[in-house]
């Protein structure tokens, strides 16, 4: 990403090309265009809505979506701005806290509070990170307060949570995205010896984390999911919806289990993965 220019010490430029700033600005424009099309977190939709997108396309996808429809009651779209995994996780994790029993809520609250120490332990500057942490906690508590007041239905709480994620240009859910990115980064930094050998292009864990984990809008890979589920001791099931016909054309599910033992488990989160993008999936039994 570096522009080589023939610049002499006297400032005469022999050629002019596209600067890094221009490239970044262009990338931002593409993301902004996407942003105008989709909310950060959408409403719960039936899988038939997804089916209609592929109806005239790949028959493999169509068959798989039909199979998903039998097993899952619906899905919730997340904006494809590079942060979809972290935002989808944050939403589904908080939603499970709100719709679960008091023990689940308390457990998720504790896991979230514990992340502060995890970030301090790897030496992050708290001045830079405390706003994100505070806003993430506030995002959960805004809705948790309503949960306690009356017999509010789970669907109402989910909708309140969604409003919290999208309101004020998404400033709260952006904070949650940054915070969870830092949590994943802190986990990888603390376990650098275990994970660095698997990172082909990384010269150091610090460099990898800054560039690929912490950077807002950078797409997630499996290592991000592994790090986040381990750090929060949570379970994410990723349902792969792709054009593969292996496995008799059935959708494959990849579990990421970060729990240490069965007793400290929080409800598993299910994400729908299409190449390059994550949305949230809902089981028929849940909700």
């Amino acid at each position: 990403m570096t522009s080589e220019q023939q610049t002499t010490p006297t400032g005469k430029e022999a050629s002019v090309d596209v600067s890094d700033e221009q490239i970044l600005a262009f990338e931002q424009e593409v993301k902004d265009a996407e942003a105008r099309e989709r909310p950060l977190i959408g409403e719960l939709e039936p899988l038939s809505a997804l089916y209609s997108e592929y109806e005239r396309g790949s028959p493999v996808f169509c068959e798989k979506i039909k199979a998903l429809d039998r097993e899952y009651q619906g899905f919730r779209r997340c904006r494809g701005d590079g942060n979809c995994f972290f935002r989808a996780f944050a939403f589904a994790w908080f939603e499970s806290a709100l719709s679960g029993d008091d023990t689940t809520l308390e457990r998720i609250r504790q896991r979230l509070t514990a992340t502060k120490q995890q970030l301090l332990d790897v030496g992050f500057d708290w001045v830079a990170l405390e706003d994100f942490y505070d806003m993430t906690v506030e995002l959960l508590e805004m809705v948790a307060r309503q949960r306690g007041q009356t017999l509010t239905e789970a669907a109402t709480l989910s909708n309140e949570l969604r409003l919290g994620f999208v309101s004020e240009q998404g400033v709260y859910s952006n904070a949650a995205v940054v915070h969870l990115r830092m949590v994943a980064s802190a986990y990888l930094r603390a376990h650098a010896d275990d994970y660095l050998p698997f990172l082909e292009l990384a010269t150091s864990m610090d460099q990898y984390c800054a560039q690929h984990v912490e950077a807002f809008g950078r797409e997630s890979e499996e290592i991000h999911i592994i790090a986040l589920t381990k750090a929060l001791r949570s379970i994410v099931n990723v349902v792969y919806l792709d054009g593969s016909t292996a496995n008799d054309g059935r959708v494959s599910v990849h579990p990421f289990d970060g729990t240490e033992n069965a007793t400290d488990a929080t409800p598993a989160i299910t994400l729908l993965y299409r190449p390059g993008h994550y949305d949230i999936l809902y089981n028929r039994t849940a909700a």
Binding site: M1, T7, P9, L24, C209
Partner: protein, 159 residues
Amino acid sequence: MDAVSRRLLKELQDLQRDRASSAATSELEELAPMDDADLLSWKATMRGPEGSPYEGGRFHLTIQVPSNYPLQPPKIEFVTRVCHPNVRFATGEICLDILKTAWSPAWTLRSTCLAIALLLNHPEPSSPLNVDAANLLRCGDQLGYESLVRMYTRIYAMQ
């Protein structure tokens, strides 16, 4: 108060609290908003690192903070002319990964400025904005490189 102002105010308070303890040891001599009414424009002054050909120089920088900081990096440029492989001589534009693709919200304005001070002493000649300075290093002419830098430091950064 919006998120960016809250964050910048916090950084400012942190700077003021640590000023006494860090000013003596750090290359960062000054880092402050240009004007109390506008927290999005800052200025910085750094001393050339000791033992480097920049020693004795004082370098001024301007910092423009975007409204979605710290999700996006600040735009930082040298105002004082500086001869360095990764700084465009004519404009002061800096080529440093953390100001572009490797930016992380964990950086503060202070830690970013310190990274720039570190860059002065650790040029990366393979991605130059000043090809002449970089070429001297690439051919291994350390003496020529340091003389050139020292000359420009004396001309522009020692008034």
